[in-house]
């Protein structure tokens, strides 16, 4: 089985989702696993792709590939697919992967399974599991013939690297001109430097309407900082203008599956649960013992966030200090 993995980098380093895809490719027993490393100033990451399971790395470096663009990336990957004829192309179900994979699906006239949480091959076809209805149902789907699959980040365990393995690294001839790129990135505005995105963080601390106003969100931020996580928000909070849209978790916000999700003064409406119920562990803190969020919680604590959060933040800091 010939697998092409579209690696993703951020600020010049591999994103964890790239390692997850390689682990998935290895688990499928890919006889040939090729990683595509696309961008500008990314070639240095090739060796690491080898450690995590790539047999070959195709490095496509170009000025026009500095930022992700649909047109640029689609063209380069289409050329790669024509050259290596993979049975499976793996993408990350990230913002860019979700934009890119269907465009290639149309260009290659091949089926795409998006946001898979499991993937296997039954001898004749690829079989995947993907959530539908905001995670309220799981669909088992299959593709006959050439398959495109995007993998939900943070779900596939990363297999231990083998630093003695090295991939064959080849530079890939990029055939792109300025005119090929019809939608151009003119600037990138980063959220606060160093701030973790909720969709990527391993720990998310979310605040809901029970905080009563934006001025009290420092309590959520302090706990998130102490835990090394990101801040999330319910829609009620975002719609009230207390927090930015980018932090909203739920059906019309982001879907997250961190190791730990801490829901503070969030009632646990169905549309909120839709975005976070696949978290590995959920903590709920709420004054109302009947709040629906407790049904989803691994650990529940009934009480007032204004009292509990400062104590919890302090206790976490102490544990972290004694861990070191």
């Amino acid at each position: 089985m010939n697998i092409l993995v579209i690696a993703e980098t951020k600020d010049g380093t591999l994103r964890k989702t790239s390692l997850e895809m390689l682990s998935q490719a290895k688990a499928l027993n890919g006889s040939s696993i090729t990683a595509a490393l696309i961008g500008k100033g990314v070639a240095g990451q090739a060796a690491r792709l080898g450690h995590y399971g790539a047999h070959k790395v195709l490095v496509a470096e170009h000025d026009l590939l500095e930022h992700y663009t649909t047109d640029g990336y689609t063209k380069v990957i289409k050329d790669m697919v024509d050259q290596i004829q993979p049975d499976l192309v793996l993408f990350a179900a990230s913002s860019n992967g979700k934009d890119l994979a269907p465009r290639l699906s149309a260009r290659l006239d091949a089926g795409l399974i998006s946001d898979a949480i499991e993937l296997s091959h039954d001898g004749s076809k690829f079989v995947a599991v993907r959530p539908m209805y905001a995670g309220k149902a799981y669909a088992k789907v299959s593709i006959q013939g050439k398959a495109l699959v995007s993998l939900r980040p943070n779900v596939t365990p990363v297999a231990a690297p083998d630093e003695s393995r090295s991939a064959e690294v080849m530079s890939f001839a990029v055939n792109l001109s300025d005119a090929d790129i019809r939608a151009k990135v003119v600037s990138v505005e980063k959220a606060d430097a160093g701030k973790l995105d909720v969709a990527e963080a391993d720990i998310v601390v979310t605040g809901g309407r029970g905080f009563k106003g934006p001025e009290n969100f420092h309590l959520v931020e302090a706990l998130a900082n102490a835990m090394g996580g990101a801040v999330g928000a319910s829609r009620a909070v975002v719609d009230a203008g207390w927090r930015p849209h980018g932090e909203q978790v739920g059906q019309t916000g982001k879907t997250v599956s961190p190791t730990l999700y801490v829901a503070c003064a969030v009632s646990g409406a169905m549309q909120h649960l839709a975005g976070m119920s696949s978290s590995k562990n959920i903590v709920a803190i709420n004054t109302d013992p009947d709040a629906p969020i407790f049904k989803a919680a691994t650990y529940g604590l009934v009480g007032d966030v204004f009292e509990i959060l400062p104590q919890l933040t302090e206790a976490v800091k102490q544990i972290k200090a004694s861990n070191n």
């Binding site: 649909t70 019809r182 059906q251």
Partner: protein, 251 residues
């Protein structure tokens, strides 16, 4: 400016999902249907652009007879025209690639400057149709858009990426996928609802558009997600921290 908005009818966000005995669909009895919430942002943006200049807004859907209701909602919000590609097969047998081909076929010969889709349909959560349709129409796409400015032929859009936003420029014609943050969708007015009832909906039959309807992605089985193990109510912060540290070892 002439604008197409692709919309999908989906079960309401509070629907309790149960699996049909066929194991390939959800139980459809008693479900309330809505226009997928992201498509409302798409309709709203199209209407705002039309109102700022001139032109028409056309809502388009691929779906069963009952999906006409979604088109009526679009018309009631202010769309001028509606196209219904009637697909009467089982919903599980229609994959994204085929749906996008049907949409592109239905638009053949139609004049448009801009096509909108929602970021995702909240039933299949596929996030595919926008990019697929853009490729079939051979136009650039900008997805996950939270801000849009159009000046003549020039488009400037902000799209969200992990940890920030990208500002992207392009030219008409193009396809945009809308998401929350772009605008506040309006409610249909009473007058709009009455007017929408009288508007004609152009009907096309999926089976007659010359598109092969055999799915590439086959739905084998639909099931409920595994139940979460029962949780535990802890009595104090100290107990909670102990559990996080010792039982699940996350801190």
């Amino acid at each position: 400016m002439d604008i197409i908005v692709c919309i999908k009818q989906v079960p309401d966000t509070t629907t309790v999902i149960q699996i049909d005995p066929s194991g390939k669909d959800i139980v459809r009895d008693g479900i309330t249907y809505i226009v997928s919430p992201y498509d409302e942002f798409a309709i709203e943006e199209a209407l705002k652009l039309k109102e700022a200049g001139d032109g028409t807004v056309t809502v388009l859907t691929v779906g069963p007879e009952s999906a006409k209701e979604a088109l009526r909602t679009g018309l009631a919000m202010g769309a001028d025209e509606a196209i219904h590609v009637v697909y009467e097969g089982a919903p599980s047998q229609l994959d994204s690639l085929t749906t996008a081909k049907l949409i592109a076929k239905a638009l053949e010969g139609k004049k448009y400057d801009l096509v909108f889709c929602g970021r995702q349909a909240i039933d299949d959560d596929a996030l595919q149709i926008g990019s697929l349709v853009a490729e079939f129409l051979n136009v650039p796409q900008i997805s996950l858009v939270i801000k849009l400015e159009i000046n003549g032929e020039q488009i400037k859009a902000s799209r969200t990426i992990e940890g920030g936003t990208q500002v992207v420029e392009s030219r008409l014609p193009a396809l945009i996928t809308a998401q929350k943050g772009l605008n506040e969708p309006r409610y249909p007015s009473m007058k709009g609802i009455l007017k929408a009832r009288k508007k004609e909906i152009t009907e096309l039959k999926a089976a007659e558009l010359g598109v092969d309807l055999t799915p590439r992605v086959v739905l084998e089985e639909l099931r409920l997600p595994p139940a979460r193990p029962a949780g535990k109510i802890v009595g104090s912060v100290a107990e909670l921290v102990k559990a996080l540290h010792e039982e699940i070892k996350v801190i």
